[in-house]
Subunit: 443 residues, 2 copies
């Protein structure tokens, strides 16, 4: 079960090695920006480093382990995991600053934004921190926010917004569906909302929201409303065309379809969102999650200038750099199509087993995960350990209304894009066998 290297690994590894060769120019001070030369003098490099590096780069392969097919964290590529153990570097060294800057620039490509006013953020934190970033910076106390209710994660976003004083209206859909455009249009006509939030894929149900038409509707009927997307389980597996669709914010995490270990909150905000932030009457209502503190830092990193607010995680940023390099080695449209093709196959196989999905409508089914109702009489607490025994880890339920009635199958990243791994086929076979062991036969 050792995952083989993906076809993308060699260039990524090259990129990793090139980082090792990056110049080390340690003006380790946040006040040093203005004193730095605009191009780095590599003659300052310790020569010994360049000479020995390629012979000592560790080769790694992962120990055999059960294949992780939950809706995040996902299985990671060797080169990405290898980047996690990068030797220690100063967070303001030229080498690391270049890595971080390139990472931010690559995010623009992943989100498909070329508008220079768009602003990426990469912060140490869980994906959840992205909610705080929105709630504490784009919304002021007492402002109205419309939250499209699709499940556990939209409820969480609503809770977070309330903590920072937003006046939240939740437009809730029944489990396994999403609010309809006419319902949303009606809600938008009843009140002027500072922002609307949509959970692109609600990881609790596998329901996919449709962003393009939603955004067009909001721009038409409530043009001042910011369109904020929770893309935790969608970025890098579902199409997101940031500029073309007129989105104002997408927040996500590293450990899902981006394929980098957990620990980074990753987000992109539009020029319009950044203006809304700048025009706040009150200061941001959080400190670590403050755009005031982080915006200049992100801009400096992207301009390859060292600066400091709080220490980022060089190892996680290296891993993200490797993951994004792999992703962008091919057109992103191919990546989205690859996830859709795998998802179609999985959903067909699940249908062939006689199983139902929580998201019943094919148009509302996510492409990076599937929430599967258990057959009558089969318990998740019995089925999941059987799957684990077969080397496949699925997740249990999380939506409180149906928590014991379903399981979740995550299919993102290398597990679907590298067919030589056979992860998906093994998972479907394990599911079929496991159900049979528990006495299930297709009715």
């Amino acid at each position: 079960m050792t995952p083989p290297k993906t076809p993308d690994a060699p260039p990524a590894r090259l990129s990793l090695i090139s980082r090792h060769l990056a110049p080390v120019y340690p003006i380790n001070t946040p006040y040093a920006v203005e004193r730095l030369p605009s191009t780095v003098d590599t003659s300052l490099l310790p020569r010994i480093q360049v000479r020995e590096i390629t012979t000592t780069t560790p080769k790694m392969s992962q120990p055999t382990h059960p294949t992780l097919l939950i809706p995040g964290p996902i299985e990671f590529d060797d080169a990405v995991l290898q980047s996690m153990s990068h030797f220690s570097e100063s967070h303001v060294s030229a080498g690391f600053v270049a890595t971080f800057g390139e990472t931010l620039s690559m995010l623009r490509k992943l989100f498909q934004t070329t508008d220079p006013a768009s602003q990426p953020f990469v912060l140490s934190g869980s994906g959840t921190l992205g909610w705080d970033l929105v709630a504490a910076n784009l919304i002021e106390a007492g402002e109205d926010v419309l939250v499209l209710g699709t499940g556990y994660f939209s409820d969480g976003f609503a809770d977070c917004l309330r903590v920072y004083g937003a006046n939240v209206t939740e437009l809730k859909a029944p489990v396994g569906t999403k609010p309809t455009l006419p319902e949303i249009e009606k809600a938008l006509s009843e009140k002027k909302y500072k922002a609307i939030t949509v959970t692109h894929v609600d990881t609790s149900t596998g329901v996919l929201s449709e962003l393009k038409n939603l955004s067009a509707l909001v721009h038409k009927v409530s043009p001042d409303t910011l369109i904020i997307v929770d893309g935790v389980c969608s970025v890098a597996c579902e199409e997101i065309d940031f500029d073309a669709w007129g989105l104002d914010g997408v927040v996500t995490a590293s450990q899902k379809a981006i394929g980098c270990p957990a620990g980074l909150s990753i987000s992109m905000f539009s020029g319009r969102a950044m203006k809304a932030f700048e025009n706040r009457k009150s200061p941001p209502s959080a400190y670590f999650a403050s755009m005031k503190n982080w915006t200049p830092i992100m801009q400096n990193y992207e301009a390859k200038k060292p600066s400091y607010f709080a220490t980022p995680s060089p190892q996680l940023v290296h891993a993200l750099h490797t993951a994004l390099s792999q992703i962008l080695a091919k057109p992103v449209a191919e990546r989205f199509a690859g996830h859709k093709a795998a998802s179609d196959k999985i959903k067909a196989a699940i249908g062939a087993l006689g199983l139902q999905q929580v998201a019943a409508n094919p148009d509302e089914q996510a492409h990076g995960m599937t929430a599967i109702y258990l057959p009558e009489g089969v318990k998740g607490a019995e089925l999941l350990p059987i799957l684990a025994k077969k080397g496949v880890v699925f997740a249990g339920g999380i939506h409180k209304e149906i928590v014991t009635k379903y399981i979740r199958f995550g299919h993102m990243g290398v597990s679907v894009l590298d067919p030589t791994r056979g992860d998906i086929e093994r998972a479907v076979k394990a599911l079929e066998e496991g159900l049979a062991e528990l006495g299930y036969t297709k009715s």
Copy 2:
């Protein structure tokens, strides 16, 4: 310059492998706690994993690189970096839950607290997030906080407290010193403070605050005031006796003396602090940094029960587990003594070079870093690249009043505790040679 393995590495590596063998029992749902057996049935383990694992564990050694001797991040041990590339695991799998639970229990030993009411937290985030944890949970809007002003980092803590509505009084000391006990006693007598904050080592100046007598004073003259320590540059290199000294909170980060890559906010709060949190009249004023959200999760992890609020970083937690296993393989008193002995040697060498420290008073000098005034005519922007060329990375200044006038030398973790590395000797030699190259002669 490849760092050799420390004497502690073998047991840590064993611990890492034992994690690989840990049972995988994937009830991946936050609602599953009550359904889990109290002991895990290892017969559910995929057998193939146990058989193959020891042959595929990657051996790693770090590529040659300049030795990082800034006040964090520090140089990391091989086994710790190896843990960073742990294969992907569910954040609620029994194996990872056990690792996280043990990590939290080990933190109690590091902080020297046996009071079961003490509560450790390990969150994805920069060390700075610890300030938010204090400000958003222990303090309510309008409450008074006394901040002992020692430099850049106490100023930051004050800023953070203000963001969440605290009424902050800063008792500032001149650069290179700390407020005196009589000054603090006077301040405490003038107003009733909900909390007092002290930066144990202000990384901007290398000033060490004295916690034991300070805490005794506060308990005597203002017994209801919570005593909160910023231990970012002190935990695991300076003595902290949490229970005996009556501390209420210590917040720190992973990448300094603990010796784990950046990306984790690590903290310990007393039963009294947790009570103060529970007795809040208003809800916590942050969401990701909310103790309401995290306390039950930390308690469940420590009880080896899976639960979920936001996805932690399994890789960083594994690395922290390895780092703490190494630290606790010996009495912590030995660790503190080792840092003190190395610091004494470094400070003597710096004195012998005719250089002055920012913290002039020996009683106020940190043991994990040294802030060194540059000789007249020597610029940090010239000296630091010369040191880098010699394979040693120091940091520039950060305290705005003296930013260009000094450099910072971090001496924590393996660089001082593993004498076979020779990091400190090389650093002192590089400093001496570098200064000479810039024309400095001891006057």
